[in-house]
Amino acid sequence: MPVADTFIGGDVGDAPPEPLEDEGRRLTTSLSTSCLAVLIAIVLGGLIMLMSGENPLTAYTAMVDGAFGSKFALGETLSRAAPLAIVGYGTAVALRAGLITIGAQGQVVAGAIGALVTAQFFESAPSAVAIPAAALGGALFGMAWVLIPALLRAHFSVNEILSTLLFTEFAALLIEYLLNNPLKPPTAITPQSDPYPDNGILGLVIDGTRFHVGVFVAVAIGLLFVWWVRSDRGFSYDLYGENPNLAQSLGISGNRVIVNSLLISGATAGLVGWIQAAGLLQRVYVEIASDIGFFGLVVAFLGGATPGGVLVAALLFGALQSGGLAMQSSEGIPASLSDIIQALLLLGFSIRYAPQIIRLTRGVMANFTLIGKRRK
């Protein structure tokens, strides 16, 4: 009948049993495809440099040098990679459970606000209390920011891509409001908060670099993630991601998997908000999250949601960002070329996922047409 020809393959019900699908539900990528994406990005990036009259060799040398060539460069790379890795690990937990949360950006913002508010509450407490309290506050705010999407997904099958994206938007509006009104010091002209309380500041560990405590947090979260993928609980979440029906028939509660894995991703993003506020910026700005939330997602995807993969992907993006800036200052080649390479990476890897992305987009669109309507 209508749109008959868009349906290929005939009746679903009486078709013969299909061979087990191997890649269908897999959201994560294999090592080789990731490497290929990187390679393509580097080659295409080089071509673009040639076209804009730059020598790719000089540019790449400057980038590598600026990313790894000195103590300062290494510190810069690590300090940029750390938050990406933290968001990446948290997102990977959800990805492995078959959930695509793209709300890390908003959760970072929420976490920064949470950390600041908590730190202000503990202003006169010793650092040994104030620092962990603020970390917890950040994590809890990050979790709170994903709680509603998680519950909607678990109980009403509301697509988590759309809802987490909307909550990112809410977070952007909220921080804008807070930094213009209640959190804004009377003397400030631009939207910003009071300086982060001294007793909660995460000091720089190596002087003369921006290497900060966040790197150790990233290592700790990375170790936790290694434990997670080997744990029985982690396995049950992975099983749900691979085959929800089977997992449920084995007594695994789908709702619990959905809510918990999204909360884990929210907590890690919230921690990043805390690191941003307490470590790097020592104040809360509207742009506190930079693009960490979004690049963290990319890192999780590109790293195949595996411990090593996420680590390498985070380092790669950290290096591209720090190297790009260094290249601009040393060779005068615009840092936006590094942005182009990052974008190419994203593209190279999304082509691999074209079928899944199309399917997801359809899911999202279905939600759009149903906004305001019940959905079973």
Partner: protein
């Protein structure tokens, strides 16, 4: 409406199919089929699952091609190469899986893909058209409601309505009533009669015989791709005989069944009802199965089997009733069912296995969250691989390679892997849903032996199947499901084609209680 020059829709026979055959791999889905649809008639096409009904419908609609044979439509040679061509010639095919776009309204669906539709969509006129047709047939199909928000019966009406609005001269309905309740079926029958009186002949595919007596003029029976009855007068036909013909001979004693001593009752099902938006559900089932006994649940697919399998394994909340395993109520809790020793061979290997996971992870997945094979919450890969290796050996999964991906195994070995996971310990209750479906003879025998072994070890076995041979090979006793209810129950020795056919096609009074 398209009409080819020279064709007179009033006089030409609407559809004539001559000697059509179609093969899928090793399956001869249709063999030399002759079929005629006369003008002004509703012609029922009946047959068991896999008889070839849908294949014939798709060939007529143009979505697949026949290997040989010819067709004519309203007196003109008819060789559609696509569904679009079939639609342009006036053949409308309403499939069981309705094909309306669910995120759009009926009015939008009406315009989408319409033959000769203008490039721009006039919302007001589309709405008016839907309303006009809806009134014409005394339906209440809403023009502006999203298809997703409409009940199934209304979606179906909408799809038929759109077919008519597109100028269908001939309508094929493939199992339109299989998901409908009795009242909705009545409304569908009224709509079909209405269409017939407007001059649209209908090919109506079903295996529900009672409704055909009221609905259809003639009927054709397909069995295993062959026409066994062509165009019999429905009013004069003995439907019980038709039911028997659909099934053919049921052969007993093909397998030498081992002697199994029966013990006390292990599985008790009382007043079991499951309501489901996806399928027919179950309504008021009562039965018991003793240790050592194999109960066959037969019925044409889609009559509540999925709901029953899920209910027996604790995977759905029950609308009413209880499932007791050795006296313990496991209703609605898969975890409790597993703890009570209930094993489940899923009907579909793609839901029963984690395809991308290793053989070892699949073989031991039943232990997930049990604390076995873990230390400090971490899974002990060596222990798991060793244990899986033993299981794979015992259940003869080939290759016996714990590290291989489950998806790399053949169908038969995947089934054995699922059995290895579920039957590691002798189950108290085994729910085997189509355990030999799609397997080669050797693998099928292995699965049958697993079912016998579970019974011999004192388990209660429930074999749910649409395949009568599978059930007659295995079961001691049979219950027949029709529209989610038990329509007959008898020991296997009393199974005859007549009795089974009648019960499966809904010609038997629903029985309240079928405990043996």
């Amino acid at each position: 409406m398209t009409s080819e020059p020279g064709a007179d829709p009033a006089t030409g026979t609407p559809l004539s199919v001559r000697g059509v055959s179609r093969r899928f791999g090793s399956v001869q889905a249709l063999a030399n089929v002759d079929f005629t649809l006369e003008s002004g008639e509703i012609h029922a096409l009946v047959g068991e699952n896999g008889a070839g009904k849908s294949t014939l419908a798709k060939i007529v609609a143009g979505s697949i091609r026949s290997d040989s044979g010819s067709m004519s439509l309203f007196g003109q040679p008819y060789r559609p190469t696509s569904r679009r061509e079939g639609a342009a010639a006036g053949v409308a095919h309403v499939r069981q899986q309705l094909s309306l776009v669910r995120g759009l309204t009926v009015a939008q669906n009406l315009q989408l893909g319409r033959p000769g539709a203008p490039a721009f969509f006039n919302a007001a006129s589309a709405r008016a058209e839907v309303e006009r047709w809806s009134d014409e047939f005394s339906l209440s199909v809403p023009a502006e409601t999203l298809v997703d928000d409409m009940p199934l019966a209304v979606r179906q009406q909408a799809e038929i309505l759109i077919a008519v609005a597109w100028g269908a001269r001939l309508l094929i309905l493939d199992e339109p009533s299989s998901a409908l309740g009795p009242l909705e079926t009545k409304a569908l029958i009224a709509l079909c009669h209405r269409l017939r009186s407007e001059g649209t002949p209908i090919l109506y595919i079903s295996h529900r015989l009672p409704e055909l007596a009221e609905l259809a003029d003639r009927l054709t029976v397909l069995r295993a791709g062959r026409v066994v009855v062509e165009g019999a007068d429905v009013r004069a036909a003995d439907l019980r005989e038709v039911a028997t013909l659909m099934i053919g001979d049921v052969s007993l004693l093909e397998v030498n069944r081992p002697e199994i001593e029966q013990g006390t009752t292990r599985l008790t099902v009382t007043d079991l009802s499951v309501s489901s938006t996806q399928e027919i559900g179950c309504h008021g089932l009562n039965f018991e199965v003793a240790g050592g006994e194999i109960l066959g649940v037969v019925g044409i697919a889609g009559n509540g089997q999925d709901s029953l399998a899920k209910a027996l394994t604790g995977q759905v909340k029950l609308a009413s009733g209880h499932v007791l395993v050795d006296g313990e109520d496991i209703s609605g809790s898969a975890r409790q069912a597993i703890a009570a020793g209930v094993a489940h061979l899923h009907e579909d290997r793609s839901t029963g296995l984690a395809a991308a996971f290793s053989v070892a992870d699949n073989a031991t997945a039943r232990h997930v969250r049990s604390g076995r094979f873990t230390r400090f919450g971490v899974r002990l890969a060596d222990k798991i691989a060793r244990h899986a290796g033993e299981l794979v050996e015992r259940f003869q999964v080939r290759p016996p390679e714990p590290a291989a991906r489950a998806s790399s195994l053949s169908g038969g070995n995947q089934q054995k892997l699922m059995a290895a996971r579920e039957l590691e310990k002798n189950p108290t209750v085994l729910v085997a849903h189509g355990p030999t479906k799609g397997l080669d003879p050797e693998a099928a025998k292995a699965m049958r032996d697993r079912c016998f072994a579970s019974a011999q070890a004192g388990g209660a076995v429930v074999v749910i199947s649409a395949d009568l041979d599978e059930v007659s090979d295995l079961a001691h006793r049979v219950v027949v499901l029709y529209r989610g209810r038990v329509t007959d129950a008898f020991p296997i020795e009393e199974m005859t084609s007549e009795r089974l056919g009648a019960a499966m096609a809904g010609l038997t009074e629903t029985m309240g209680d079928a405990s043996g």
